[in-house]
Amino acid sequence: MTTPVLQARGLTKRYGHVVALDGADFDLLPGEVLAVIGDNGAGKTSLIKALTGALQPDAGEIRLDGEPVRLRDPLDARRHGIETVYQDLAIAASLDIATNMFLGRELRKPGVLGKVFRMLDKKRMRQESARHMAELKIGLRSLSQPVESLSGGQRQGVAVARAVAWATRVVVMDEPTAALGVKESGQVLDLIRQVRDRGTPVVLISHNMPHVFEIADRVHVQRLGRRVAEISPRDHSMAEVVAIMTGALQVSEGRSVVVDQSAADAIGWS
């Protein structure tokens, strides 16, 4: 059995009486696209936040390549090679593409200019950005244009390119297609495929079942604060997965079992 790149066991997080994570497990294998799905309030966001350092679990363990780690904050997670593309919070709108690519990790000019005068090496940042964008085949007219002048898909492209450029282990994407049109969603899905093909595993949080089925190698179903199933989209239908998500079905030994007949009826499962 291969060692998961990113793994969690028994993650628990409570907010007062509300249990956001109730002993959740998580496994991301090398080179895969893992979709994380679940109803609203299933604890998807809390799980992802715990895995990217944005939230501190009350209990449980996170392992990177088999080694236990503590991720104190998002910066810490990034230092460990985990890059996150946040849904609406990916980029600074009035700054240009190259600046966004290097935000928080700016390159300074060599020598006195950089050391004493702290001068940025804008040219090198533009060149490196261009290289990263080209690798992902993201075509843009100019890297000096502010991000707000781009389309939604192009913006998401910049955010993805930045995550990929810095991620040494994992790229996490939170609803990357939620705000996009059909064509732009397709572009982002292509990007995700390219990232995976370059060898970086991707965690994809999504509500969009067709997108999940189009791109995911495996699906992690989150329900009531824990992982209730880990399935391959090739073995299950979309309706089945939705049924698992809502609790009408459970998976045991690779087969779906109806556990809640009224819930199954409600979604038309028979």
Partner: protein, 324 residues
């Protein structure tokens, strides 16, 4: 393939938010030049710069804060207090002048620090924090000075008011210092990581935080630095008037915001240039001076400044709507 070269200078000039204000400044200069023989002369421009250097320097600090999507209503009051501290320590307490100046700068920076801590630690809106601080600094100025103007300043305190010759024109050292400060902050904002982070913070604090920028520390730093700049403005004020005046700076709180806004910086944060603020300050100075030379009563100068501000913000809003 993406373009990796910087865009050509001409396109950058047109795209910059300073283009509009700069055009307005040039037009205003042309207009007043046609209407008054004295306007387009070296000594008159030296005078304009002297008239705007105090508000202009305050407006550098104001620009930093507005770029982070904050606002500072207290900058003039903090400056007035700093001026009283410097002059009283030097004259009444006989402190060495340089030490007195350092104390004044430190007091102003401390005001900025407190503002920054209140904004970040207790999450109070900058408007409220600085509105309160406006009254605090104003009251402290009057209590500490006992309503008395401090006179008989030692030389080092008025040094910046002295002049040197450029051709036929006398220029004050203070004017030179103001220009240098503008250039320094244009560099810091435009060409260092710190500057990029200030813009990112103004765009969205959450985006900045998730990118790994220490937003609280950055915010406190910006307010403290702005306070220090108000201290420098206090020294400029003292050296220009030659006294420590508890009544000084009362209109400067809002005048500094006027200069920032006229310079094309967005009050919503994250967009604008400090050089624009210099242009904005000069627009106010040029209008005041030009209208004076044409014999227009000073209350009309205020009227026109007000209209200019509304026009500037309207243009900003309309151009942003077009971008969306």
């Amino acid at each position: 393939m993406a373009v990796i070269e910087a865009p050509p200078l001409t396109r950058r000039l047109v795209a910059t938010p300073v283009a509009g204000p700069l055009a307005a400044l040039v037009l205003a200069c042309a207009f007043f030049g046609l209407n008054s023989d004295q306007f387009l002369t070296g000594p008159n421009f030296s005078l304009i710069i002297q008239q705007v250097m105090v508000v202009g320097t305050l407006a550098i600090g104001q620009t930093l804060i507005i770029l982070t999507a904050g606002i500072d209503l207290a900058c003039g009051a903090i400056m007035a207090f700093g001026g009283i501290v410097m002059t009283k320590l030097a004259v009444d307490n006989g402190l060495p002048p340089l030490l007195a100046v350092a104390a004044g700068l430190a007091v102003c920076a401390a005001f900025g620090l407190v503002n920054g801590l209140l904004v970040t630690r207790i999450s109070l809106p900058p408007f409220i924090v600085t509105l309160g601080m406006l009254n605090v600094a104003f009251a402290l100025t009057h209590i500490y000075s006992n309503e008395q103007t401090v006179v008989g300043l030692p030389d080092p305190l008025t040094f910046l008011g002295q002049t040197f010759q450029v051709g036929q024109t006398n220029v004050t050292y203070g004017s030179l210092l103001t220009i240098l400060l503008f250039l320094l902050f244009a560099y810091l904002l435009g060409s260092t990581a710190w500057g990029r982070h200030v813009y990112a913070l103004g765009n969205s604090p959450e985006v900045a935080r998730l990118t790994g920028i220490r937003t609280r520390r950055l915010t406190v730093g910006v307010y403290t630095l702005a306070g220090l700049i108000y201290g420098i403005a206090a020294l400029l004020l003292v050296s220009r008037t030659g006294v420590g005046d508890p009544q000084a700076g009362q209109t400067d709180n809002l005048d500094s915001i006027t200069a920032v806004v006229l310079g094309g910086t967005s009050l919503f944060g994250g967009r604008g240039l400090v050089i624009g603020t210099l242009v904005g300050a000069l627009i106010v100075g040029v209008f005041r001076n030009g209208l004076q030379l044409m014999g227009v009563p000073s209350i009309y100068q205020t009227l026109i400044t007000g209209i200019l501000v509304i026009l500037a913000v309207a243009v900003d809003q309309l151009s942003r709507r077009r971008n969306r």
